[in-house]
């Protein structure tokens, strides 16, 4: 065959051209590319009309107004702040921004569950119907009541600042049990302080928007203290005035450089636990140099000068205590690590700067404080004259659900009947407080009969109660544990019966008052979607149980549903003809004054309910703290007169007054030479809600790496222990031993170890479980001998290389 050049070229060109001109290669390439753009395993969210539903967030006690974006009205895709709402003005915290991850959590409980095997066995949970579950529970409750042992029923709830709190109180009161307890909170201390000093069962409030100088004793102001979004907005105000000059100077007293300390204009590092001593040192200088508001103190305060007790004995006043040499600057300097000149400088600055206020208390995982130290911080405000009408310190106002003369009015946080600990032999607690630790203690020790039924609602004590083994030990003395959690959390895992509550935004809730906020506040959170699972609002459960129990219980809780109950409360609020609804943008609630009343802008209960469920909040003026004082003397009391007659040694005058009385942690200092402190972050949820995946992603890799938690240690402490950045270590406290890794940081005070709160879950799912260590399993609770509350300040610890 002849195969000349031409033939060759023809052949080659033909081959190439022919293939290229056929659609085959092009089609193939294009189709495969399109296939790579449309894989079936890549979710394609359903489209549809997008609507916005306003409501109020109830994930924490901050009361932010939010909006939910829905597609086709039946799936929620985004939560954002409501720009009209006066608290957060369109902003939102990370928990709110991630909140849909709870609504759509894979670890949600679908329906009531019963434990059919041993307690704690995950595989033993079997689904049952609501009627079966409730029937069984009613039988138990009815039997106990008829046998005359209603005290065998108790409840631990995380609900504060809302009407569930009130509903539980009514139920337990009618049922006849004093066993209603709340998860600990710093507001317990603030209430105790207010009760002692002002005679009011309310929490303290601080008008921070008007402060020009904020002296913070360890308060994590920008990390979850009080009402978080309100604090962020206040912080924004303090930063105003551009050109680097803030409108307020923030001084943060704290052993660690927290975010609040880093953001402060001045960080005063102290030895952990000596914040109260520093406050007393400042008081010393203020009294000695006559820098306090003598006029206010002489006219309105009892216990500053010497005072006479109920038996006629003359006792030292706070003035004598403050002036004692123990609180002189050089003495205080030695123990706090703050030098004498700085103490004097702080005192003078605090005293001379207009609108100066002292604040205190924990951060996100807020816990009660040592009452004597709380009173010391409070005393600084008294000396400064901050408790005047319109002053920087007042009380959180009650929301007027009843007319003023109704004695059964429940206060903002809901007072709950407590087990009278003092009546139990072997216990001695002079003052009432949230006695959850005392209760768990006497239960475990068998000093009261075992519980028949324990409800756990809106709380996860098996995880988030500091020294959580106390709760776990107490469960041995509980016959039937009923968890009302929507999620399979650590406590639900120990339950005998699970009656799942709705998840966030599936049912009606409300917000009654805001912690630390001086004006009155009420809001209703309406659901944004129908409940996705076979769950029931815990309020509806309580009402159904009441109805089934009949008698006085049914009579005391006559509402058909929790929604009806809330409507009833709103009707009462409307009937009070107080306050107004914030239905416009840019309403500045901090401008409210107790002397200038607000005209209602709602017609009646129905109208008010409509406005509230439209996402608007109700507000009213602050309390005039001077006229609210309800002590025996009619004055603000710096001396704890109420202690008298409670069985405490009252020979020592100091017992009545603010003084430095640290509660010593256990353990031998030689074996445990370091101090462990836990800390919270706004970006790490640490109470009853586990950290959602969106927020876990924001954790630094020097806080959590794979499944290892890092504790913060100063290089000067870690070096001699042979540790470098990332070293594996064993952290041991008298409570237990855990494996950690070390992060070297100059934010940490030498000699101290800092551990984040919120990790170390053992339940939920792969996004949450097994990451790090739970700080609550290694920290120690010191029970305050005066209030019986469990305080957490520091735990003795040892760190060694693994």
């Amino acid at each position: 065959m002849k195969f000349g050049r031409r033939a060759f070229l023809q052949f080659a060109a033909g081959a190439v051209g022919g293939t290229l001109l056929s659609p085959m290669p092009w089609r193939l390439a294009d189709d495969t590319a399109i296939w790579s753009q449309n894989w079936s395993w890549r979710p394609s969210p359903e489209r549809g009309p997008i609507t916005t539903v306003p409501t109020v967030c109830t994930l924490c006690q901050g009361g932010c107004g939010i909006q939910a974006r829905l597609v086709n009205g039946n799936r929620a895709i985004y939560l954002e702040g409501n720009p009209v709402h006066p608290i957060n003005a369109g902003g939102i915290c990370p928990l709110g921004a991630a909140a849909l991850q709870y609504l759509y959590a894979p670890y949600r409980i679908e329906q009531p569950m019963k434990q059919t095997r041993a307690r704690g066995e995950a595989a033993g949970f079997q689904p049952i119907s609501w009627s079966e579950a409730l029937d069984d529970l009613v039988k138990r409750l009815a039997r106990l009541k008829s046998e005359g042992t209603p005290g065998g029923v108790a409840c631990i709830t995380g609900s504060r600042w809302n009407s569930m709190d009130d509903l539980w109180a009514r139920f337990f009161s009618a049922y006849g049990s004093a066993g209603l307890f709340k998860m600990p909170s710093h507001s317990d201390s603030l209430r105790a302080t207010a009760k002692l000093a002002l005679g009011k069962d309310s929490s303290l409030a601080f008008a921070l928007e008007h402060a020009s100088y904020v002296l913070s004793f360890g308060a994590a102001l920008v990390e979850g203290w009080g009402a978080p979004a309100r604090m962020q907005a206040a912080f924004m105000r303090w930063q105003k005035n551009g050109a680097g000059k803030g409108a307020a100077k923030l001084v943060q007293v704290e052993s660690r450089c927290s975010m609040s300390a880093a953001k402060a204009d001045q960080w005063v590092p102290v030895v952990p636990g000596t914040e109260g001593l520093l406050a007393l040192g400042i008081a010393h200088v203020m009294v000695k140099e006559n820098l306090y508001d003598a006029d206010f103190v002489s006219r309105g305060v009892l216990g500053f000068e010497d005072w006479t007790d109920m038996q006629g004995k003359v006792r030292s006043g706070f003035k004598k205590i403050a002036l004692s040499p123990a609180y002189a600057p050089d003495q205080v300097a030695a123990r706090t690590g703050v030098d004498a000149a700085k103490i004097q400088g702080l005192a003078r600055e605090f005293a001379s700067t207009a609108n100066a206020v002292a604040v205190w208390g924990g951060g996100q995982q807020n816990v009660p404080g040592n009452i004597y130290h709380e009173m010391s911080f409070f005393a600084l405000n008294v000396l400064r004259g901050n408790l005047k009408s319109g002053g920087l310190v007042s009380l959180v106002p009650d929301v007027p659900f009843q007319p003023a003369d109704d004695q059964t009015a429940a206060s903002a946080e809901g007072g709950a009947p407590q087990i009278k600990l003092g009546s139990v032999p072997g216990t001695r607690v002079p003052l009432p407080g949230n006695g959850i630790y005392g209760f768990l203690d006497i239960l475990t020790r068998g000093m009261i009969p075992p519980l028949e039924v324990l409800f756990v609602h809106d709380a996860n004590p098996a995880y988030s109660l500091p020294e959580n083994k106390i709760f776990k030990a107490a469960l041995d003395k509980v016959g039937y544990v009923v968890s009302m959690s929507p999620y399979m959390d650590e406590t639900a895992m120990t339950a005998d019966l699970i009656l799942p509550n709705h998840a966030a935004f599936e049912g009606f809730e409300d917000v009654v008052g805001l912690p630390g906020v001086p004006y009155a506040y009420y809001a209703v959170s309406r659901p944004i979607l129908k409940p996705r699972k076979d769950t029931k609002h815990s309020g509806d459960v309580v009402l159904q149980l009441s109805k089934a129990l009949g008698g006085n219980v049914a009579a005391a809780l006559p509402w058909a549903s929790y929604e009806e109950y809330l409507k009833n409360r709103v009707n009462a609020l409307a009937a009070s003809k107080r306050g107004a609804v914030a239905d416009k943008k840019d309403i500045d609630l901090s401008k409210l004054q107790s002397s200038v009343s607000v005209s209602p802008n709602f017609k009646d209960g129905t109208d008010l309910w409509k406005k509230l469920t439209g996402g608007f909040c109700w507000y009213d003026v602050p309390v005039d703290v001077r006229s609210a004082v309800d002590t025996d003397s009619g004055k603000i009391e710096l001396a704890f007169r109420a202690i008298q007659g409670k069985g405490l040694n009252v020979e020592d005058d100091q017992v009545y007054l603010p003084h430095f009385k640290p509660l010593p942690p256990s353990g031998d200092e030689k074996e445990y030479p370091l101090l462990l402190l836990s800390y919270g972050m706004l970006s790490l949820s640490c109470e009853n809600l586990a950290n959602p995946p969106f927020m876990t992603k924001t954790l630094w890799d020097f806080v959590l790496k794979k499944n290892d938690l890092f504790v913060e240690v100063n290089p000067a402490t870690a070096g001699p222990l042979g540790m470098i950045e990332g070293s594996k270590a064993v952290l041991k406290t008298p409570q237990g031993e855990v494996a950690v890794r070390v992060h070297l940081s100059q934010a940490a005070r030498p000699g101290a170890i800092y551990m984040p709160q919120g990790l170390g879950h053992t339940a939920y799912d792969e996004f949450i479980q097994g990451k790090g260590v739970n700080s609550n399993s290694v920290v120690e609770v010191q029970v305050d001998p005066i209030t019986g509350m469990g305080t957490v300040w520091a735990t003795r610890a040892q760190l060694r290389r693994a």
């Binding site: 065959m1 195969f3 050049r5 060759f8 390439a29 495969t32 590319a33 296939w35 790579s36």
Partner: protein, 415 residues
């Protein structure tokens, strides 16, 4: 047994021994192919790449192998293009087939690894359809694919010279015709290669937000465009020579006259001297002018394992010293020195490619950013090592069955 396939007049090792050799190579290739398939199925998380190291071992090895394979186009250019003006270059005829095969395996191997490198290989052709005229990588995609086609075309006639295949008349004539057109293909190849080698340099040089890599230049091309071309042509022929020497050592034969090596040494030495001079000037300009203009210093570019030793090694040990020793007749006479210098030269090019990709992106730009260290995983090593095994396999098969070396019979007389 396969004597019929072996070129006339030369000896090759027994088939079983060769089969074993091929089997070992296929095993390594299989290992790499498996790793590659896993990467395609499970996605790139199997590698050691991350958001700080978008480019890693795949790219470094690709760039290095393409630079070393430049011996193909450059030798082709010298032989087909310049030898009529410089007759001394006709010596290259003795090694040109090997040079073409080295080029062929380097580029086809690089393309295979490139398939794994991009996250959506099925859409790789978008570079043609949605081309960005400003992007160096568009230029790379165009030129690499075109040049690979050219290399295939250059390789085919060599394959058709196989004894058995050349017995088939149509094939023999086809191959013969291709051979006649070889000059055109070679010069096309030179043109394409010039551009894509340069554009690979451009890939680094246009990163105006990465002061380590960014170079000003002329017109649209940063200096790195030209530096890459020069470093490639300065090392490519040396790489071919090293491979040739390697085959000689393994087979115990002389395949080319020493004069070929001498010629290559002189070419490489001269080009290397020229290149390293430009490179030193470029480094000084970069350190003293470009870096400060961006707000950084030379010391900001070196840290930990990415230390200044890389710069010293690349320029002095693998640049200046080989250039001098290859150009000095006395040292050039020693085989050990000559081939060691070829080797160092190649290492220098590899270091340069590594520095301009991995080190360039390891160096933090934001002042509060940190250095990170890149550690490739077995899913990156395996395909790259397999690619080398593939190269060795094709060269082995070509050597065994194709008349690569026109001087082989004369240099190895039968006893």
């Amino acid at each position: 047994m396969d004597k019929a396939l072996i070129p006339e007049g030369v000896k090759r090792c027994p088939l079983p021994a060769f089969a074993l050799w091929v089997l070992v190579l296929l095993g390594v290739i299989g290992w790499g192919v498996y790793a590659g398939i896993m990467v395609l199925l499970k996605a790139l998380n199997l590698t050691g790449l991350n958001d700080y190291f978008g480019f890693g071992l795949y790219i470094t090895v690709d760039l290095a192998i393409i630079a070393l394979g430049a011996g193909a186009f450059f030798s082709g250019f010298l032989y087909y293009g310049l030898s009529r003006f410089f007759p001394a270059l006709k010596e290259l005829h003795k090694i040109i087939n090997l040079a073409v095969i080295v080029g062929f395996v380097c580029y086809t191997g690089a393309l295979a690894v490139l398939l794994l490198e991009i996250g959506q290989p099925i859409r790789g052709w978008f570079g043609y359809w949605h081309a960005n005229v400003h992007s160096m990588l568009t230029e790379v995609i165009f030129c690499i694919t075109c040049y690979a086609i050219v290399l295939v075309i250059e390789y085919v006639p060599i394959v058709l010279e196989n004894r058995k295949l050349s017995e088939i008349k149509p094939l023999r004539l086809f191959g013969h015709n291709l051979h006649e057109l070889m000059a055109i293909f070679a010069l096309t190849g030179t043109f394409l290669s010039f551009f894509h080698q340069g554009s690979l340099g451009g890939v680094a040089g246009v990163l105006f937000a990465r002061p380590f890599a960014y170079r000003t230049g002329f017109f649209i091309w940063p200096w790195t465009f030209f530096l890459f071309i020069f470093s490639a042509i300065a090392s490519g022929p040396g790489f071919t020579a090293l491979i040739c020497r390697g085959i000689e050592k393994v087979t115990g034969k002389n395949l080319v006259d020493r004069s070929v090596y001498e010629l290559i040494a002189k070419i490489v030495g001269g080009l290397l001297l020229f290149y390293i001079t430009l490179k030193i000037a470029d480094t000084l300009y970069w350190a003293l002018v470009l870096a400060p203009e961006a707000g950084l210093k030379l010391t900001d570019f070196y840290w930990g394992p990415y230390g200044i030793w890389l710069l010293v090694t690349e320029i002095i040990i693998c640049g200046v010293i080989p250039a001098i020793l290859l150009l000095t007749p006395k040292t050039r006479q020693s085989n050990i020195i000559m081939f060691s210098m070829f080797f160092l030269n190649c290492v220098g090019v590899c270091i340069n490619r590594f520095a301009m990709t991995v080190q360039a992106i390891a160096a933090p730009v934001m002042p509060f950013d940190k250095w990170e260290i890149y550690v490739p995983t077995v899913y990156e090593w395996a395909p790259c090592i397999a690619m080398v095994a593939y190269c060795i396999l094709i060269i082995s098969l070509s050597y065994r069955y194709l008349p690569l070396f026109p001087r082989e019979r004369e240099l190895n007389p039968a006893p």
